[in-house]
Subunit: 374 residues, 2 copies
């Protein structure tokens, strides 16, 4: 199998941009990724678009915005894991040997307070009232607290850490610190999840240029800045009624597969971007990704292990909570952060000496993980 590389990444500022179209946001991220890669738009052989709710043929609209092209365009949807899923498709296209240079873009303009209700009206989830995302995570939090003694403060500290990280990320929606007290005292959404423990409503776009080993060796101008896609995994939920566990079991299963493919384990990771759609999700991910033993995630957030400067920094970008969570863009924004970190270009939020990184992106019912190395 051929190797695939991320040659360039691009990101818009994340925030609320009522005056901008989603096409212009996506085009900005793509142009920025092309510049970062040292690649011309006319060299690109295929375009993957990822989004959740941006309408039919969104990728084609984005390509028109970037400029005339006749390349193949297709759209990938996988809830909040759309962009990482599209990146995996792009890497398969390159690994097949049929393409040398492809671009992936994820983008979203969100409606305020959107809750992804994808369940048919007669589904058991609707009958049980568990379609509302914060409630699902709050059930998981309750279970974790009762089993392992995890505290409400430990969940809330995820927000404190990620907002501290976001301060150093110029693209973040909330680049300002927040105190533990303020997180805990903010409006309760679904006990123990307060509003500052929820990812916000965000507009934004992210893009990546992916190339083959052949392109890297023969043509790439910035070959030394390329990051290798070591292994990628996509897994979808097994159960019909996953209301209590949501899909962290799927993350665990997927991580195991990715580590096996890579021949590397969690002990080899230097930096991680994980899907903190709610604070609870980040702690559960520590365990599902094998960063600590079952039930030990509270300690990791307490002792600062996952802060920049700690043993294994998680979400140096600020995560979904600090940086923002434009659904279809999130997976690629995680990849953009890891690529920036592995290149040593992350400035004040740099994780020193990072050589191997991992992104864990979740969509309703799916987990998509990429392991990257320089």
């Amino acid at each position: 199998m051929n190797n695939a590389y991320v040659l360039g990444v691009g990101l818009t500022k994340f925030g609320r941009f009522p005056e901008r179209t989603v096409e212009s946001l996506a085009a900005e991220a793509v142009v920025s990724a092309l510049e970062d890669a040292g690649v011309e738009w006319r060299e690109v052989e295929q375009f993957y678009a990822a989004h959740v709710n941006q309408g039919v043929a969104a990728g084609q609209r984005v390509v028109k915005e970037i400029g005339p092209s006749g390349i193949p365009v297709l759209n990938v949807e996988n809830c909040s894991a759309a962009a990482s899923t599209a990146l995996r498709e792009a890497s398969l296209a390159v690994r097949s040997g049929e393409f040398d240079l492809v671009v992936v873009a994820g983008f979203e303009k969100m409606q305020h307070g959107v809750l992804l209700n994808v369940h048919p009206e007669d589904s058991p989830e609707v009958a049980m009232g568990t379609t509302v995302l914060p409630m699902r995570f709050s059930l998981m939090a309750m279970e974790h607290m009762s089993r392992y003694g995890t505290t409400v403060e430990q969940f809330a500290k995820v927000t404190v850490k990620n907002r501290d990280h976001a301060v150093h990320n110029p693209k973040a929606q909330y680049p300002s610190p927040i105190t533990l007290e303020r997180v805990l005292e903010s409006r309760m959404i679904s006990d123990p999840i307060t509003i500052f423990q929820c990812s916000p409503t965000t507009d934004g776009a992210a893009a990546a240029v992916v190339c083959s080993e052949d392109y890297l060796r023969r043509k790439a101008k910035h070959a030394r800045r390329a990051v290798r896609m070591v292994a990628s995994g996509l897994a979808s939920d097994v159960d019909e009624l996953a209301f209590n566990r949501f899909n962290l079991e799927t993350v665990r299963r997927n991580a195991r597969t990715v580590y096996e493919k890579a021949g590397l384990g969690p002990e080899d990771l230097d930096v991680v971007e994980t899907h903190d759609c709610f604070s609870v999700a980040e702690l559960l991910a520590y365990e599902s990704l094998g960063l600590c033993a079952e039930g030990e995630s509270g300690k990791l957030i307490d002792d600062g292990s996952t802060r920049i400067g700690g043993r294994l920094p998680v979400n140096p970008s600020g995560g979904l909570i600090g940086k923002g969570h434009p659904l279809g863009a999130t997976g690629l924004s995680q990849v953009a952060e890891i690529v920036t970190q592995l290149r040593g270009e992350a400035g004040a939020r740099q994780v020193e000496g990072a050589k191997v990184g991992l992104t864990s992106n979740m969509g309703m019912w799916s987990s998509c993980i990429h392991m990257l190395a320089i």
Copy 2:
């Protein structure tokens, strides 16, 4: 590069099924494709879902309908070319060497009279009133008539031929013949396109099982019924203002690439399924696919060349006009027909001795072509 094979295909009846969910239609097609392939659901390694307007995480809902599974699921959208685009992704996944056995399903329940208006409100297309599909094709028809002397009867004969073919297809929505007079006298939609020259509103699903050469040799029960994916191509529109040519220029460009990849030309084809969303589109496709010279398509329909029994039968399934056009399913229904033909299993609509076939599927702004051989 590894070879990819279609090992099995499945199709629901096409029609209007207000009492059925889209998930149940898709599951029926998948189960039927698995049976056809002699494959168990638990062997499948990845699931690609294709649709246009079936909501978020549609593929995941279909997988739940089929039965518990933990395999990766993703959704591909590319307007009416969604299913053929997803099949191409599936073949790239197999060709990458990472997967041996994947399933693709396309499905759609359509709203009556849906017109895919994917243009932003401030686009030139909207300003010019050319977003309405029949009008676009009628402009192309007018141009063809004035340049080459093509007649309204020649366009209408496409419907007569395809409805004659559909009579022998038990899955077709309109398995009944229609006279040229009735087609011409039916309600005018956009001159010269009458209502019987438009593809209908359809519910339905189609699926295919795709495997690697390794799987075929080592494990496949029905290896001799496998059909080789010789070459696949996806191309998207170049122009910002393609209102008059729509995307048949894209079909032409794409066909050229596919023929080149395959090392075969139109003269090697025994049977073709093409995208007759309107009668006009089929005649234009004869030229874009190189089945005849520019301007000669009228002669081909006049002399019966593209009827079953003719030199090169086109749309033996009945095409979109006779068989129906459930947007997200159409591309795979074309592939199912070609696979059935190449296996010699098409019964009364069999094209004798067919060894090489081609499908041409169009989405707004995109063309997806597959060349298949036994």
